[in-house]
Symmetry: C2
Subunit: 319 residues, 2 copies
Amino acid sequence: MVHEGAEDPMAALGLPALSRVAICGGTHGNELSGVYLLRELQKSRQEEAPDSVALVTVMSNPRAVQQCRRYTETDLNRCFTDATLSSPISDRTPYEIVRAQELNALLGPKGSADAVDLVCDLHNTTANMGLCFISYSDCDWICLHICRHLQMPSTPVRYLHYNIPQSEAYSLESVGKHGFAMEIGPQPHGVIRADIMGIMAEGVRLMLDWVCRFNSGEQFKGDKMEVYTLVRNVDYPRDPATHSIIAAIHPQLQDRDFCLLHHGDPLFLHFSGKTECYPWAEPLYPFFVNEGAYYEKGIALSLAHKNTVGIPPICVQRD
Amino acid sequence: MVHEGAEDPMAALGLPALSRVAICGGTHGNELSGVYLLRELQKSRQEEAPDSVALVTVMSNPRAVQQCRRYTETDLNRCFTDATLSSPISDRTPYEIVRAQELNALLGPKGSADAVDLVCDLHNTTANMGLCFISYSDCDWICLHICRHLQMPSTPVRYLHYNIPQSEAYSLESVGKHGFAMEIGPQPHGVIRADIMGIMAEGVRLMLDWVCRFNSGEQFKGDKMEVYTLVRNVDYPRDPATHSIIAAIHPQLQDRDFCLLHHGDPLFLHFSGKTECYPWAEPLYPFFVNEGAYYEKGIALSLAHKNTVGIPPICVQRD
């Protein structure tokens, strides 16, 4: 059963089977590829149950989906820290905190042996990021191997790493034993583009394909992979008095996510006409460039450095 | 003062001066080019008052702007019919209806001699429409001449005509003696793109330039212009039971606004994989293709036919 020739199968790292996999959409209610792909999965999965995987499909924030908004009271995908998941609930608790605790009961509890083995949470961005895995670990071999398996001609596939401790990891995928957000753009929020939805459908298909092959005993060879690690977020220039933004992403940076920025490269075009440049000595890779949902979070773009990570050969652990 | 050589100045149609001009932004609070351009105009206009024009700048829906939403309770830009403008106000009247009546008092009253001479209402669309004038008349020579004046290398400029009686005209620009929406895309709602905002700034600059030249006595020669007239709107295919959409705009149609559609051309790609084609015999021009705000209105795209309209030479009416 060695399809992807691990030269020395004896060296493969044994990892537990991925028996329970959750695919979540609508964590942000106006990111429509995930919402509609999830509905399609829920229709089709009623007939064709996969052999080696118990698949759970979850519409994470049905109220926000119904209103076609990111969230109703607070951003659900910032509610999965240990602190928020254990906070007391009252009549005045925002809906999304109540819902996060429900999802944690369904898919977790986070950090416990009962948690699902893998969470894939479907997202869209207005930024030109192609397909990105976003994960809290750069040594989760399952996530890295799945990402490596998702090579497709229609879009670049990259792995983004947020270096945050698990207890403070704030997003839904942190509830699983393994997990990642599948972030695809560019697509305006509140809009479905067939091309972007097609990429997401193919990404989910390849992920499930990998999981089934892994569970069935296939060995996957080691490799080197590029991993982008978040260094810092950069806010828009703002008026100190009103806090209103006074510049847009520079046209030379717009749509150029993951194109390395050097000292002096244009970052912002002020409404006054002035260009503001990249002020740092260290070149870094921009991403989430002009993401619509991040204006309110004070993020115009994020910056990452790129590392090469060695990933070991892996196979399912024999009982 | 004949700059644009009207061959026979005696033939020019005399029209009243455009003494009071209103530029409005934020009629939809998440269409950000207009919101931020209006703020810039409000800053700069405090210093440089134009000679021949009394310019009014209006943030139409400040509550929606503050929340970065299209509207808070109902779509403001559907509230300017005679019926809604004269409806009684109570404690339960939606904010936008109250605001429409305020704006009508400020800029109108609609249809009266007191109304401002020209309303330019700034909008964005997620559709790839370039810059469009949208007007309720295909014989408003002022709007047509201004549109003709707005030729720019960075984007196509087109004139869209909605054939609706003035009393039922529902949008803000119908309050002025002349008026048009300046619609620019593609731009996601809730996002500012420097390129799109630059096109809008240039469009507003050229409009004010034309108005000042018109008021100062310049004659503008007659011409022929292409005018697109709305024929019908087309909804997404929907599940009859849930009303949920079951198809996206076909990738071959996406981003191809104003490319003539013929019988059999792809319109929709169903999530099931099926392609649904253009069913009509008459070829028509699509626009507002996949506009994000129109999902809730049941509009996937609109269809227009194209006419050539002769516009007469005009000049300001001498007192």
